[in-house]
């Protein structure tokens, strides 16, 4: 039976306790982003246009660590271009993450887009207008 007063929920607890994608990779694309009281380092090995391996290191609350693990789990094997479309808002909704911590998950979004950018992928514009 779940505890209604539990601030985390089973999915956040599971990802926080067993982050299978925590770690680092040699000779990989790498970005580090800090802010909102959290820090994350993402690194990626590519196989052509695809993400072969995605790993993270994170300093922050359990929601942030769980979100970083979910990001790496969900995007490994997908196209690098898709990483640029990672949505913090979607993560906040699905994990779920308290609204007050949305800013922290936006740090993760910044990192995902920066990592895609380091591989030459341009972040899609939310307005549909190509970035300059």
């Amino acid at each position: 039976m779940s505890d209604p007063a539990d601030p985390y929920g089973p999915e956040v607890r599971r990802l926080f306790r067993a982050p299978a994608h925590a770690g680092t990779l040699e000779a990989a694309d790498r970005v580090r982003v800090e802010g909102q009281g959290v820090a994350v380092e993402l690194c990626m090995l590519r196989a052509g246009p695809a993400i072969r391996q995605l790993r993270f290191l994170a300093w922050g609350c359990p929601h942030f660590i769980a979100a970083a693990e979910a990001l790496c789990r969900d995007y490994e094997g997908r196209a690098v271009a898709e990483l640029a479309g990672y949505s913090a808002v979607e993560t906040v909704r699905t994990l779920p993450v308290p609204r007050g911590k949305t800013g922290r998950i936006l740090v993760l979004e910044d990192a995902a887009r920066a990592l895609a950018g380091s591989a030459g992928i341009t972040t899609p514009s939310k307005t549909g207008v190509p970035p300059p």
Partner: protein, 406 residues
């Protein structure tokens, strides 16, 4: 209910500074009084049932007075230490406002005190906030410098609820009285655990509560010295009970439980103290070699029932979750969901990050050495795991564990 389990995966309660379980003898006494006439009757009623209830109240007051070495008539029953603090601080400030509106307290007080002073500031009182030395102890010279001719009240806690640091109440009181200033002491963490001799100490008000000494929640006490007795305004009106200082029907059964808990505490004080020291030493020695570990607050002037530590490179909320099923406290024990860094630890000079990583372990009569060993292992494992997850780089060659020293 038998309390926390001692298995590796069961909850291990190490939060005795927040609250204690009922002593079995107190629980049995309370259960009996719930339906006994003396327990439920109104002690202010003049009939036989009321007189039996008042006899219970008087007996409890005598037990508390014996523990504090004061006159039972100097005790006012309240709902707990928070109310006692409010009555003393607001009541004395209001009564003496015509003489002056300057008050003094420490930045390391419990919020049940600091929030009262903040409220008084909004009402026009001038409050001086003293910072302790890095070891958590107040420099008497700093207090002496802060006292003014118009200083009406100083409030200083005996044992800090987060760090366990013990203040030199005798020295603080002497300075206050030499200045004609009243002293209030929040003794929520020390009452029944350390000797308090109010016949010898220069203290005017002292707050205590039952649930920190294995008594029931919902009942506390305020000691009011003969000197201060005429210098406090009540917060509430109606009924005139307790000389009008704190009106309302007295809960005889809770007060009786408080009295029994106090008597038991008096009998066990020396043994409990020695046992807590053993538990604290065992935990500290089980974790002290972790790199980047800091012990917060003076070890020399510390209450052995509390150990507060910070670990560099670790985020506090994640540490707290990783430590489950240990029941420990991070930040303010009274509001562990408030993740702002502890004001107490910031006042001791810790950085935000150090304060955010702080964990308070507090021990009690039911704590076993096995639980301590499990707690030490879990703490070490959690710190190392979270550091391995972290991109933050510890300072090169992190120092061995250090203790706050003044």
């Amino acid at each position: 209910m038998t309390g926390a389990t001692t298995g590796d995966d069961g909850p291990i309660y190490l939060d005795y500074a927040a609250s204690t379980p009922l002593d079995p003898a107190v629980a049995a006494g309370l259960a009996e009084l719930l339906t006994a006439t003396a327990g439920w009757a109104n002690p202010s009623a003049g009939h036989a049932a009321g007189r039996r209830a008042m006899a219970l109240v008087n007996a409890a007051a005598a037990r508390l007075a014996a523990l504090l070495n004061c006159d039972a008539r100097q005790l006012v029953f309240t709902s707990g230490a928070t109310e006692s603090n409010n009555l003393a601080i607001q009541g004395a400030a209001a009564y003496r406002a015509a003489r002056g509106r300057h008050l003094v307290t420490l930045r390391t007080e419990h919020r049940a005190v600091t929030d009262v002073f903040r409220a008084l500031e909004k009402r026009g009182y001038d409050v001086t906030w003293l910072s302790p030395r890095p070891d958590g102890r107040l420099d008497p010279g700093a207090l002496e410098a802060a006292l003014r001719p118009d200083t009406q009240l100083v409030s200083a806690m005996h044992v800090n609820n987060e760090t366990g640091v013990i203040q030199d109440i005798a020295a603080i009181g002497r300075l206050c009285h030499a200045n004609g200033t009243l002293l209030h002491v929040d003794a929520a963490q020390s009452f029944g655990k350390l000797p308090i001799d109010l016949a010898a100490l220069p203290v005017d008000f002292l707050s205590a509560t039952a649930h920190k000494i294995y008594g029931p929640k919902g009942v506390g006490v305020l000691y009011v010295s003969g000197r201060a007795g005429a210098h406090v305004e009540p917060l509430m009106f109606g009924g005139g009970q307790q000389r009008g200082l704190r009106p309302g029907t007295l809960p005889a059964w809770l007060i009786a439980g408080f009295g029994l808990a106090a008597e038991l505490a008096a009998g066990r004080m020396a043994a409990d103290h020695a046992r807590l020291g053993e538990l604290q030493d065992r935990l500290w020695h089980g974790i002290r070699d972790l790199p980047g570990l800091r012990r917060n607050g003076s070890a020399e002037y510390g209450f052995p029932g509390i150990l507060n530590v910070s670990a560099a490179g670790v985020e506090g909320e994640s540490l707290l979750l990783d430590l489950e099923p240990l029941c420990v406290a991070a930040g303010s024990a009274c509001n562990s969901r408030d993740r702002s860094p502890s004001g107490v630890l910031r006042a001791l000079g810790l950085t935000d990050a150090e304060a955010r990583s702080a964990i308070r372990f507090s021990f009690g009569r039911r704590t076993t050495l096995r639980e301590i060993d499990i707690a030490a292992r879990r703490y070490r494992d959690a710190v190392l795991r979270l550091r391995a997850l972290s991109p933050a780089v510890l300072p090169p060659g992190p120092p061995p564990a250090r203790e706050s020293v003044g």
